[in-house]
Symmetry: C2
Subunit: 256 residues, 2 copies
C-alpha cells in the first residue's frame, strides 16, 4: 500500500493546508488548525478543466473545515492540474473545444470523456483513501463523505457505488447516460443539485439521474439559472448535509 | 381599518406568544423576548385540518423567532381552529372523508375546497397584515415573508400574487390546478418543497407548480418519502431562506 507523502504545509485562518502525493497522484488535505483527535473526512472532486485548488474547491473546503471541523481531501483528476495529459486526453479536449466552437452540444463529448476519466480516477481515489485512513487524525473507522459536481459527479458516482467507506455524498450537474447504472447501486444519503435552466443538461436528464439513486434518503435541489449559476448557498447546504450525516455517525466525542 | 387586539401573552424560552384577534379572525404572534426596535415579519399558513398552534406551526415559529429574530404570525384559516364551519365547509370535509374511505384520490376535493378557502382567506390575511404593520415592533416598511405548505400554499400563492408587501415565500406540497395561474404572477424569491414519492400529488404536478412561478430566484427541494414525510431539516432550510431574503432587505440595524 502507498502512503501519504506530505510536501508542503501552510496555515491560514484556522485551516491547515498540506499538499501531498500518494504515488503519482498529487493532492491537498485541508484540516482544522485546532484539530480534535479524529474527525470525519470529505473527499472532494473538482470539475472538468479545473484542478484541486480551484477557488470553488478551496472555498468549499474552508466551509467544511471551519464550519464542521472535518478534514477535506482533493486530488487532481487524471489529465488535470499538475498531471500530464495522455494523447487520449488531448483528443477529447480538442473534440470538446470543436463542439463548443461549432455551437454543438457538449454533452456527448463530456459524457464519454468523463466516463473514461472515471475509470482511471476511481482506483486512484481508493488508493488515496487507503493512504489517508492511515493518518492518525483520520483513521480507518471514521465516516467518509464525497462531494463533487460536474466531472466530480462523473467520478464520484462510480466511486461511491464501488466503495462502502463513503457513507454520504453530494452530487450534481451531470447527465444520467453513464451514471444511472452506478447510481442504482448507491444507497447512502445523497444531496443532488441541478440547474433548472441548464443550457447543457436537459431538465429531464437531471431529474432522471436523481431518480436513479437507490438511496432511501435523497434530496434534490434545483435552482433557476444556467449551468454555471449554481448559487453559493448550495455549498452551505452541502456542509449542513455532511454535518447531519457524518457527525451523527462519528465516533469522535469532540464532534458530537 | 381594524386593529390588532391582544388577548393573552406568555413567554417561554425566549419567545413571546401573544394571541390576538383582528375583527373576527383569531391569530397568534410570536416575537423575540429580547426584541430589537423593529424586525421582519413572517406570515405562516397552517395546513388543512389543523390550526394556528399546531405543533408544526409552533416549531417553525420558534426557529424563525429564536434563530432569525423575526416576528411570526399565524391565523386560523376559515373553518379551522377556533373558527366556525359553514355548511359549505361541512359538505367539503364530508366529501374528503368519503374519498379517503373509498380509497379515491383526495386531490380533486382538496384542490377545489382549498381554492374556495383561499378566496375567503386572502382578504383576511391582508386585513391582518394591515393591522400587524400598525404595531411599532413590525411597522409598515419592513420586509414580510410568507411560509405555508399544503393548504398554506393554496392560500399563500394567491395571497403572495396579490400583495406586493410579501417579498419572499416558502411553499410546497400542492397541485398546480388552481395555483399555476397566480404562481405565474409571483416574481419574489421562492423556495418550494415537494415529496418525490407523494402518494397524493403526482411528481409531474409538483414540478409543474414549481415551474409556474415567474420568480427569477426559485429553488426546488424534493425529498424521498410520502406526503407527510417532509424532513424536519426543510424547516431549517426555510429559516435560512428567510434570513437571506428578509434580513438583507431589512432596515433594522439590529438584524444586519
Amino acid at each position: 500500500m502507498q502512503s501519504v507523502c506530505f510536501t508542503t504545509e501552510t496555515t491560514s485562518d484556522g485551516v491547515v493546508e498540506r499538499d501531498f502525493t500518494v504515488g503519482e497522484i498529487p493532492g491537498v488535505l485541508w484540516s482544522p488548525a485546532s484539530s480534535p483527535e479524529r474527525a470525519p473526512l470529505v473527499l472532494m472532486g473538482h470539475g472538468g478543466g479545473t484542478h484541486k485548488k480551484w477557488p470553488a474547491m478551496t472555498g468549499r473546503a474552508r466551509l467544511l473545515v471551519t464550519g464542521c471541523g472535518f478534514h477535506v481531501a482533493c486530488v487532481d483528476a487524471p489529465g488535470h492540474g499538475d498531471r500530464p495529459r495522455t494523447a487520449h486526453d488531448e483528443r477529447e479536449i480538442a473534440a470538446l473545444y470543436r463542439a463548443r466552437e461549432a455551437g454543438e452540444p457538449e454533452g456527448p463529448v463530456v459524457v464519454r470523456y468523463n466516463a473514461h476519466l472515471a475509470e482511471r480516477a476511481v482506483p486512484e481515489w481508493q488508493a488515496t483513501l487507503d493512504a489517508l485512513q492511515e493518518l492518525p487524525e483520520i483513521g480507518g473507522a471514521g465516516p467518509v463523505g464525497y462531494y463533487g459536481l460536474n466531472m466530480g459527479t462523473a467520478i464520484g458516482v462510480p466511486l461511491t457505488a464501488a466503495d462502502p467507506r463513503i457513507t454520504a455524498a453530494v452530487f450534481g450537474l451531470h447527465w444520467p447516460d453513464a451514471l444511472a447504472e452506478p447510481a442504482r447501486r448507491i444507497t447512502v444519503p445523497v444531496e443532488f443539485a441541478f440547474q433548472w435552466d441548464d443550457e447543457h443538461i436537459p431538465r429531464e436528464a437531471g431529474l432522471a439521474l436523481f431518480d436513479a439513486f437507490a438511496s432511501k434518503e435523497k434530496t434534490l435541489h434545483a435552482n433557476t439559472g444556467s449551468h454555471k449559476e449554481l448559487p453559493r448557498f448550495e455549498a452551505d447546504s452541502a456542509a449542513r448535509f455532511f454535518a447531519r450525516h457524518l457527525v451523527r455517525a462519528s465516533t469522535s466525542p469532540a464532534l458530537t
